[in-house]
Symmetry: C2
């Protein structure tokens, strides 16, 4: 169809506002009489709050409110564990926890007020790390928890018997660390409560309706009395869902004053308050048979959620089992995973949602096992790659799999075989190539037995369309995708579709932009709604033209008779605008509006974590070529190619953008970014010391698309935003090994670790020579 | 039902915001970088614009834009007559017409800029009044119009033959004048255009979607690229629909700059820019037979629309024929009505919409005719009063009529018979009583073949409801009415229903608050939507409780088994909140939302103005007791009782409020308010000189409700906001006659006119004595 952009590079519909600097972010909204909010954060990892002196602050001119934990609703809230209050009450549990909130006429006054507040703490022993947490006699972060927030135990098949059949078995312990989401826009919220008692919260969020539900719980008030409007969102990466506290505190303070309240995180606030990813120590044992088939996997994980559990239990569930599903061959799995409280800052959702942690280990492991049985690692991956029609060990029903094609693509695009075979030489800078593969869900039936999405379309009397959704665009391109679909189905220009950013008052109920679900689930809803809209237009045209619907055609925003000999002799038919007006202005008419919902036929995971939770699964493979400096230990990525099986690239430009961003973020996690804690205190909460890779540190990131045509996806598409972040760490670690023969099992792969490993290797080689 | 407020005095749901001063009116919205708009208005009634010098103004620091008619879209716009540009171009046609618009950083700068602009006009002869307009050779206001904007010619039955059967025939010419809507809030608009090219207009309006349609036409752009949001509206009275130009100019200027633009009418701006009511000169001849049956009516009207026609043709249509329909007996009607252009300011829609003008004459006329045949005027009205089941001379199908009951009620409540019979005495202050009756539509199928309304209900997971409508609340209580219905039908507290003010982006398409249509048409849509919502909840409960729907009951926001012996043994059932969550969170679930439309089975009037245009007709009767000062001629209303047949008073408090306001406004029109023009120049555009009645000038206004239970209305209700303004003028004129024996046929009834009439009467009486 002439107007269709499906499958074509399409600039994002939100781009113009952003490029012109006219998009309204949370921090841009200014309201008359608006107050400015600041919080005091705990300087202790664990302490009893003895006394808070606020009188001097309250007396300052321009200070409207000084609030402490005692002022917060007593109801505890949280995703699964109800353990959090809006401000710390009684105790603080991590350095950075919000203790006092001040609202004043401007930021300076709020800051001055904070300086006047005296807080007396009685310091308590802190739980410093997971090992410490699990030592008998260690103080508990939450009373009665034994410092265990959650535990998984999964057994499928007969793992011990299966290991007996292996020709190679390898076990190793890996350490993965925490990554800050690093969105360009720190959290910023404006909230106000009207005289009618309704609370409005203007905030960047991936999940407006889940935020509303969470505010309702934490503020202990009915959800419908709260309106959450998604402000333009400058990146989310999992960090702008229901864990961050900027919006929560701002919303709550707005209920305490008659003025609008603005809370803008400084970057330090954001480092301290955001939920970074969950660090995990993973012991992994895997075995392969002579054909390279993975016969068994045994895994034990100790993961750290910090002071509050948040979404970390769900993240850990993904680490425990998701990567198993990319190996259609794998039948025997045993896993134990513990999520442990410490007095470090809470950790939670992050792009990839637990996938990167375990997949780093699995990809490292498979590289070793391939070597042990003399097989190329890509061949080993191919041997085990899950195929369309497979039902995996955990019950995933794989409708499409481009994993093998992804693996072949990275082999072809990088000259893998030649590079893998080359002599590493003896120079100071040595190159190596490594690879990894990954699986991710497109949707996840985990929030109660619904993973649906609803799209409402309204056609105005000019024949153009407003599209309403409860899902959010954080920059990933959701609105562009929805507009493309609607434009394609109705054969109208993209500019004739206006996607409305979600507002819980007016948008259809939706779960939001998590689990790479939007294309997969809102996409089909948009198709369905568009077709229902077209059917309505067709029906009106049929009546007016006196031609049966199946004799009608549509193009360019018009419906006309397809055949000669009809009353539509000139074949001009009617424009959608005319039809919309006819539809309204008739006996029994009404505005032209349709609503359609798509809820895939997936299931909730059983108590043993078994079940087909997603309507589709995306796959990726990545090869990375690194250069390792033997003198400094520095690892530089010199080339990378990531192949993304997104089913069908509805907008290749956006898919490439997502792939490149994911690769950059995975390189950051693997080599550069490191949240450094000392006794639970973050030492580098700023972009000077927390070294996210800039364009200088990144190669020209290459990416390719594999179109496996998912049977459940819109036009075959599935999720394309997350999978590509998953394989990078293992690929880099494997490339380092390929280059210099040392295997770094603890992230990040710092020059120090590489140098130490090289030194140990040299020592071992000398020892070998000497012995 | 316990929670039902239907039929009970219910404070308006919007009251709290307003009383606390926290409602956000058009003028309250402030946006960063907002510009302030001022216009230069024409000082000439008719002139050619020769030259506009704007350079000095443009050069002023802080001035962003200076725009003239040449900058406006060339497309002409208007309701029926396409004759208007956003700023005057080429010619000005009335004093006050907008010629230049200036946008500057603040109001002072805009004012200063205006002072720097030189406009050279070439004055043209002005068309001063309708008589002048129709003289041969008079210059035309619009080329080729002959100064006639519209003409009606209606003949039903055989008027001449019918007059032959009359025992009394009376003819008279009446003059009615123009009334300023006098809302407390002058027009104020804020508009801005986003980088995405969409235009948002935040404005008080009775008709958001019609405004959008009008902006689209005048700005020559697609409707869907425009968003109209109804700001809290401080009264409308017909003046805030599609004729006022404050919002139009503001919207257009916002498309010319990248900043938000605010245009706040001063009161003088508003007097000059608003559409006052249509002044009409009405020649009327009516005859009655010996039984008091009205046998024929002949009418000729010359009405003045001023410089642009706007809605005046529709207003005149109402004057021509609506009052005929309150006389079920009337079969013979002849009418000619001309709408005439002059160079006075444009006139248009006003509460009562042409009804007050003609009904003043008819009520005066019937008082005379009653006297001529020796009948009490109430008896004469009763003899002719239309009844339920009647089809009137113009095709109105009257489903309910409380007109007779209204007439009886005013007789009883005012001690009519005794007061009418009393001796008027010979004192300086003499009392008299008079009455009038009225009909008004509830809805009007006149905007194209649709007079429907759509209500969307969304239930949140807390069991509370958002209600969406395209109709507006200007203070008349529409939202309260809709909330009451929804609360009643669902058996939930009123506070659990949030009515969303219309926003054309998110509200269902609707015509807005005109023609007393909202209760009559949106009301049934709200009932239908509520019942569909309940059916959804019932269906979920039925499944969960395993009880058939007809075995379920609902109360207090819960659904439970009505009978023993069911699985719902404790009869607790489920709350709506639980059911809403169950409805969402299930295979195939979705947010709980329903949309229902009601479009009554009325018809568009035929080309001869025949047809049942409204689903119901409201009636009113009013008795007025006045005291006339024989020395000063001053008329004071000392008592009044208006009886309003609103079908069923859903909210008696609101009905009384509307009745009282209507009576006050009709007293103002009849006695006090007078837009004074000299050569088309308004002389008294302020509240000091334009004397709206204050509480000092008004009696304690009494009102009564007649419930005729309309078969088409929600719970029997019909419109209750407009009818009561219609009968007042005739009732006062009749009371003056009853008091002092003079009949004032030209409004307003000023002391000067009364004194002059008294003098003429005395002279005539002397002449009689002498002869």
């Amino acid at each position: 169809m002439e107007h269709s952009t499906i499958g074509r590079d399409t600039p994002q519909v939100t781009a113009r506002d952003k490029v012109l600097g006219r998009a309204i972010y949370g921090g841009d909204l200014k309201m008359p009489g608006m107050l400015h909010l600041k919080v005091i954060r705990s300087p202790y990892a664990h302490a009893r709050i003895v006394r808070i002196e606020t009188e001097a602050a309250r007396a300052l001119p321009g200070v409207h409110l000084v609030l402490t934990g005692e002022d917060t609703p007593t109801r505890l809230s949280g995703v699964a564990h109800k353990e959090h209050r809006i401000l710390a009450t009684g105790k603080v549990r991590f350095i950075g926890e919000e203790v006092v909130a001040v609202a004043a006429v401007d930021e300076d006054t709020a800051r001055e007020a904070i300086d006047c507040i005296q807080i007396e703490y009685e310091e308590l022993p802190a739980v410093l790390n997971p090992d410490h947490a699990l030592l008998p006699g260690t103080i508990e972060v939450h009373h009665g928890s034994g410092n265990i927030a959650h535990e998984y135990d999964i057994v499928r098949g007969d793992v011990d018997a299966a290991f007996e059949t292996a020709v190679a078995v390898y076990e190793q312990t890996y350490e993965t660390h925490s990554q800050y989401p690093g969105y360009l826009e720190p959290m910023a919220t404006v909230a106000w409560q009207g005289a009618d008692g309704r609370l409005s919260v203007w905030t960047p969020t991936q999940t407006p309706f889940l935020q509303r539900m969470r505010f309702a719980e934490a503020l202990d008030r009915p959800a419908s009395t709260i309106r959450v409007v998604q402000a333009t969102t400058g990146g989310g990466f999992g960090g702008k869902t229901v864990e961050e506290c900027n919006s929560l505190i701002c919303a709550w303070v707005a209920t305490k004053t008659r003025r609008p309240v603005r809370f803008l995180n400084s970057r330090l606030d954001d480092f301290q308050g955001a939920r970074a990813s969950v660090p995990e120590r993973i012991w992994l044992k895997m075995g392969v048979d002579r054909n390279g088939v993975i016969v068994a996997k045994d895994v034990r994980i100790i993961a750290e959620c910090g002071a509050y559990a948040g979404l970390a239990p769900e993240v850990l569930q993904v680490s425990v089992m998701r990567s198993d599903n990319m190996h259609g061959t794998l039948k025997n799995v045993r896993a134990n995973a513990k999520l442990v409280y410490t007095n470090c800052p809470p950790r939670g959702a992050f792009r990839g949602f637990g996938g990167p942690q375990m997949t780093f280990c699995v990809n490292s492991h498979l590289d070793v096992l391939a070597d042990m049985i003399g097989m190329d690692p890509i061949d080993l991956h191919l041997r085990n790659a899950v195929k369309a029609g497979d039902v995996t060990v955990h019950g995933f029903e794989v409708g499409s799999s481009g994993l093998s094609d992804c693996l072949k693509q990275i082999r072809d695009e990088t000259g893998w075989d030649a590079k893998r075979a080359r002599n590493k030489g003896t120079g100071i800078r040595r190159r190596g190539i490594g690879m990894g593969a990954a699986i991710h869900v497109s949707g996840n039936r985990s929030m109660g037995d619904w993973d649906g999405s609803t799209v409402t379309l309204k056609m105005s009397e000019d024949g153009r369309v407003h599209l309403f959704t409860g899902e959010a665009d954080m920059g990933q391109g959701a609105y562009t995708m929805l507009a493309q679909i609607c434009s394609h189905e109705l054969a109208i220009p993209l500019s004739h579709v206006t996607v409305m950013p979600p507002d819980t008052d007016t948008a259809p109920y939706g779960l939001g932009s998590i689990a790479s679900r939007v294309t997969m689930i809102a996409g089909p809803a948009a198709i369905k709604a568009s077709r229902e809209m077209l059917a309505k237009l067709m029906s009106v045209a049929s009546g007016k033209l006196n031609v049966p619907v199946d004799g009608l055609q549509f193009a360019d925003g018009r419906i006309f008779a397809g055949n000669a000999g009809t009353s539509d002799v000139e074949g001009k038919g009617f424009s959608y605008a005319e039809l919309a007006r006819i539809y309204i202005y008739r006996q029994g008419g009404e505005g032209l509006q349709v609503t359609a919902t798509h809820d895939p036929s997936t299931v909730m995971a059983s108590s043993s974590q078994y079940g087909n939770v997603a309507p589709a699964y995306s796959f990726a493979a990545q090869a990375v070529e690194v250069e390792v400096d033997m003198e400094t230990g520095k690892v530089i990525v010199v080339d990378t190619f990531v192949s993304d099986d997104c089913g069908k690239a509805l907008n290749p430009l956006a898919v490439h953008g997502q792939s490149c961003g994911a690769v950059a973020q995975s390189i950051g996690w693997t080599l550069y970014e490191h949240l450094q804690y000392q006794n639970c205190q973050l030492l580098n909460g700023n972009f000077a010391d927390y070294t996210m890779p800039t364009s200088d540190s990144l190669p020209d990131i290459r990416s390719g698309i594999v179109e496996s045509n998912d049977p459940n996806g819109p036009y075959g598409a599935k999720g394309a935003s997350e999978t590509a972040i998953v394989p990078g760490a293992g690929a880099i670690a494997n490339a380092v090994f390929d280059a210099v023969g040392v295997r770094i099992n603890s992230l990040p792969i710092t020059p120090e670790k590489v140098l130490a490993a090289l030194a140990a290797l040299t020592k071992a080689q000398f020892a070998k020579v000497e012995s």
